[in-house]
Symmetry: C2
Subunit: 402 residues, 2 copies
């Protein structure tokens, strides 16, 4: 493709993402959903104006790695620790139930092959920290007791989800389930999760040192992007998905990061703020490309909408996705309103669900029907809960502890 | 190339650019020269670790378009007007003399074909506003009377240079000199220079309006990059180099931009600052890729260093490059020290010279010898003048008007 045509396509992608994201926000839905629709509109489903070329895929991949970096950066492990075991219960139930139920229903009810069914279950485990944080923040519940439980659980869910993703990724490369390899990969990943943030932390301290006496500008954008991509490469080398590297790098640079053995290395607040301020334009530039690409890679025309199968499949999975996440709140001791709030807040799959679905499609697990069905589930679970949360807050607003 | 390998290459490019840029800065040379050396070290000249793949070339192109956007953004047309006709004299002489002398010497003395000779002359016309601003600023001469003359002349030089570039680009596509086409292109470019900033300005006002009631974050990075790339595409469509579009977009968004017919549309200072703050991490991320690419595309091993030709060629051109730029100061009424300062400040070719040389190579005009010879000239003209300026300032520091 010629350079100027590529520029035009990139412009169309960025502007469409912005316009549809803005419309979504106005309809009180997360912008991510709008960006996904932008891709559907531009892609083969509707107009077919933009094709997902290799270079756009590459930019999208940088986008998703940077997004996971941001998720890691915003992860506050301290907060997870203070919310205590309640969020552990919510997270582990909210991870296990959709995985097991999603797998079982796909495998036994819909007779989908085992690995594909596992990947479907895996896609349902996601929780979108980003959307949860946004919705709770908008309702002034970000710092409530319930908010702490939800955020802690969402972080744990993400870590578990990313590990599952790495495992399924290994299976997809190996062509089947191999428990020896799986054990090896899990070991690598645990080692990666312990060592990578430490290494990234040390590298960030070096960057900070250099910053103090650097003679030239632009240190933070170039060096932090290098750090993130370096860890994406490292993650690939150990057999994990590249976005895991982004997440680890973000975790390391988050404000409160704990080294193993109880040692703490706080990132100086000014430096952390500087990183956030300089990285956010770059992240905002690349991430919409990913969500538009997800839309571009869906072809709604190829799907037989008249078949009962796809509707039955997605509605069943939607039920699993909702109740699987809400199951955990039964086991925690809270008021009914608090339980409903926590459960509801865990439902949005958002961008994390889209990442799983896309990886499943790219690895050749999902055919068009399964992929589209999952996208429907992700859209519904992402759009509906904010309304539920607002309703609960309106009717029980004095029930929540700040 | 696999994704993770691309990530590794990108990391190597960014880190090497940073390390060599930092070393250059410490040796009081412009960082651009360091980034160029990084490319020479990583490329076929020395280690051969990184190959200039299509995607790296594309990122480099985005980098140079964004850099020209930045140059446009920093252009203060008001200042150019106040410095008056003195900078006009300096600029026109400093543009014409290197062009005519460079062409004549290449064509008659070195028997180089006409179009190639024209391109050599064109490369010598460049003045690096960025480096000039930096050096004068470092010496606290940025706001001096001499500084005004230099900046005004550098801006004019850039506009003339970019127009010449567009003309030579048209010749390179057409395969020869065609004055009718040339006239058409020049007309287009003049129209583009008048209309594009107006259009870009109007679009930026729309962006600003949207920003006021936008529900989602990340508006400025996505929309400004879209604007810049859209104008790069437009520039290509009218037959000019894409970076011209970046320059026009930058000019439009600069703080004081004048519409034709005397109307003024000031960019609100807060919005302008916001654009600058959010765009600068993105610009810093992409531009080093361009300069490293210039280094990567030089193969010093292929050049016969023992031949007297290349030395004679580059030293002759170096002399032309220095005296051609200093010629203009003879015609202005200033003290000897002021004249020396202004003339010396006009010499650095820096990134603008590299852009010309790269375009000449990509269009197939320059063979390895000519390209390498010009790179030597650009390096020398970029490294040496700052020392000269410092020397003058040290010995005549009371001579300059603030």
């Amino acid at each position: 493709m010629e350079t100027h045509i590529f520029f035009l396509h990139l412009v169309i992608i960025l502007i469409a993402a912005r316009v549809f994201g803005e419309i979504a926000a106005r309809l009180t839905a997360p912008p991510v959903i709008g960006e996904l629709f932008a891709g559907i509109v531009l892609g083969p489903s509707l107009f077919g104006w933009v094709e997902p070329t290799d270079i756009i895929k590459l930019l999208a991949e940088i986008g998703i790695i940077l997004l996971l970096f941001k998720v890691g950066l915003e992860t506050d492990i301290k907060r997870l620790a203070t919310a205590g075991c309640k969020c552990g219960i919510v997270a582990i139930t909210g991870f296990t139930a959709p995985l097991v139920l999603g797998f079982s229903i796909s495998f036994w009810l819909f007779s989908i092959p085992m690995l594909e069914s596992l990947f479907i279950g895996g896609t349902l485990t996601a929780t979108s920290i980003g959307i949860t944080v946004r919705v709770l923040g908008d309702l002034n519940l970000g710092n409530s007791h319930e908010g702490d439980i939800v955020l802690g659980a969402a972080v744990l869910d993400d870590i578990l989800g990313v590990m599952l993703l790495a495992l399924l990724y290994e299976f997809s490369i190996g062509g089947g389930i191999n428990w020896l390899n799986a054990g090896k990969v899990l070991l690598f990943i645990v080692a990666f999760f312990i060592l990578a943030p430490v290494l990234a932390k040390l590298m960030s301290l070096i960057i900070k040192r250099i910053e103090n006496f650097s003679e030239t500008s632009g240190l933070i954008p170039t060096m932090i992007v290098s750090l993130v991509l370096l860890f994406a490469w490292l993650a690939h080398i150990i057999g994990a998905p590249e976005l895991l590297g982004g997440f680890a790098a973000g975790l390391a640079l988050s404000r409160r990061f704990f080294l193993p053995l109880g040692a703490t290395l706080r990132t100086d607040a000014k430096f952390a703020l500087n990183i956030k301020r300089q990285m956010s334009p770059i992240i905002s530039l690349f991430t919409p490309i990913f969500f538009v690409l997800v839309g571009l890679s869906i072809n709604l025309r190829e799907i037989d909408w008249s078949s009962a199968y796809i509707w039955l499949f997605s509605l069943t999975l939607f039920t699993v996705a909702v109740f699987g996440k809400m199951l955990g709140v039964i086991f925690i001791r809270e008021s009914g309103a608090s339980r409903a709030l926590v459960g509801m807040s865990m439902i949005p799959r958002g961008e994390v669900g889209l990442v799983f679905a896309e990886l499943g499609k790219l690895s050749g697990f999902f055919n068009n029907e399964t992929h589209a069905g999952l996208i429907i589930v992700i859209i519904l679970t992402t759009i509906l809960p904010p309304f539920g949360i607002k309703w609960i807050q309106k009717h029980y607003q004095y029930a929540f502890r700040k």
